[in-house]
Assembly symmetry: C2
């Protein structure tokens, strides 16, 4: 480009092009009030906070014309029935984790994440660029819903145990609170699996009704007080290596939205997806230090346990794939993506982390 042209384009003349042109446009942006059922107690400011981010950002982007109110689990719907009430149209939308609904379709496990699955960045890569989100939205459409990623917890911790786990034999007969596919894998390793809602875990563990329990990670676990009921804190939480939270919207309601509102909701979900992970990454670090000061003993799961758990997880996925064609199609695509991605993450990213963790 000639300098003269450059100046012409970049100079004062350019400002004119940026000013308001045409008449002010009379819009048809309706005022809406929607309710959002969630799977979270209000006290968990990370998880419930993720739903609040979506609501807040939609309000800000529409000057308050599109108002969404998130409700804690149990207020307008039971925490694990968010998809049900969205499907029925009882509420317009929800904030949840889609692995709660694997009883309806096992494919939904991949939306939230599975044992020995993708880490948070790989989850986003698969969902946004690996065909994952389209696949998940096809499954959700069978339940009259559309789904969007809207939060991530990071690699979770392996939970709290009253006794040390030195090998596979220590898992046999252990009464451990763990839901979902992680629970199914644990059961195959001989664990007596318990499912309890978040608010019931502390008391059960403290009274010895269970021998151990997993929840999320340092920040959320500290809020439940689990470190006061069990001493050994294991890592990593191989059953939830990057759990994605999701916004569900009733499909009829979704289609009734003006296009701009649809795009604004999508953007708000993407923001919640990114910010919730950043919030966990910020809050877990000091929470871990506090837990250790309070007496928590950190322990890595023995490699033998990880290897056996991975074998059982793989066997479980193959069994589901053998009886569910939709799952099989998604699983094959996901597995190829995972293996290729794992190779890339396993050397460049890994080598950097491996070095910097030795500093100070």
């Amino acid at each position: 480009m000639k300098r003269r042209d450059f100046l012409k384009k970049a100079g004062v003349g350019a400002i004119a092009a940026s000013t308001v042109f045409g008449p002010v446009y009379a819009q048809t942006m309706p005022r809406l009030r929607w309710r959002m059922a969630t799977s979270w107690p209000r006290s968990l400011d990370t998880l419930f906070g993720s739903a609040e981010i979506v609501a807040k950002r939609v309000a800000e982007m529409t000057d308050g014309r599109f108002e969404i109110t998130p409700y804690p689990a149990g207020e307008i719907a039971p925490g694990l029935q968010v998809l049900d009430v969205v499907q029925a149209g009882n509420v317009e939308m929800g904030h949840t984790a889609n692995y709660y609904y694997i009883g309806k379709s096992p494919s939904l496990a991949f939306d939230a994440g599975v044992p020995f699955g993708l880490n948070p960045r790989q989850q986003n890569a698969w969902l946004y660029f690996g065909g994952g989100l389209q696949a998940m939205q096809r499954v959700a459409a069978d339940f009259n819903a559309i789904t969007f990623p809207a939060g991530n917890t990071g690699v979770q911790m392996g939970g709290w145990f009253r006794k040390e786990i030195r090998g596979l034999e220590d898992l046999k007969g252990l009464r451990f609170r763990i839901p979902g596919l992680g629970g199914q894998v644990m059961a195959r390793l001989g664990v007596t699996v318990q499912t309890l809602a978040g608010g019931e875990i502390f008391l059960a563990l403290d009274r010895g009704a269970i021998d151990g329990a997993e929840w999320v990670g340092p920040y959320d676990d500290e809020r439940l007080g689990l470190h006061r009921a069990a001493r050994f804190y294991y890592y990593p939480g191989w059953w939830e290596p990057g759990s994605t939270l999701s916004v569900l919207v009733n499909l009829d309601r979704w289609r009734s939205l003006p296009k701009e509102y649809q795009e604004i909701v999508k953007a708000a979900c993407a923001e919640a997806n990114e910010r919730t992970l950043a919030e966990y990454d910020t809050k877990n670090a000091p929470a871990l230090a506090r837990l250790q000061r309070a007496g928590a003993q950190l322990r890595p799961f023995p490699t033998s346990v990880l290897q056996a758990a991975n074998r059982e997880a793989t066997a479980l996925y193959e069994e589901i794939a053998a009886r569910d064609a939709t799952y099989r199609g998604i699983y094959e695509n996901w597995k190829k993506f995972r293996d290729e991605s794992r190779r890339w993450f396993g050397f460049n990213e890994f080598r950097y982390e491996d070095f910097v963790r030795t500093l100070r």
Copy 2:
């Protein structure tokens, strides 16, 4: 809550509350056309694509009323002078990496990332929840601009070398293309640092005018053809462990926007921030395999090189902090955040990655 109340709240009656209420609102959402200068050639669909995500999402969320056009480096502004033209008001906004402007303020290095600094998730955590973005926006305000994170490359690769680097002695006198703080650290290790624009690297390396060059990572490096000019591909790129790209907006222009448009621009930037990383994480994996099939030889930097580089990087930061009070304040906050975060990432996340990379 009683079951009766629950049914009343969740039942059919709830739908009424969600319908449109009040008259359709006459809005004052102006039609705007803005230009966005970028630091990227159009051929790099990841970097320039990140600017395009911002423009596309703003258009979608405003039904096309707010139109932003991104221009490749050199068309309406030189690639490394985006802040300059935004500051002057010659263009309304830009998409760039703020470490290009450390000559104006060394503090801006932390916005994009520094050698041995934060990984992409830590960057987001520090920017959004660790006080980083507020600090960066205070610095940008001195240049009549506001800045938002709008893209991330992931941990970059260590670049292409014609000869193997077996230790520090192999760096002495080596002519290596590397800009910014990474270049300053390399210079302290005896490297003869070269700065060349992206489009000039291949020819210089192929003709032997330089002995090596770094660019970004497998996908972008492949597009420049660097594997055809040098054989040894080093990792990790310790000088760019999670480079954040940024949108800059002229502060007067920013203040002239309706509040909704400001919020929509913020959301579009957050989406670009997340999606660009996901796109790199998706595209780098198969690109690496292609490069290896084409003959690239992967080599880790020797630990002695990483250690010496980290020592020099730390010394450099301390030197800048001694002469620049703004930098010192930000550096101290950043360093505390980094050390705490590194401890958390270094065990739970690390242990998971360390295990899964051994699978298959």
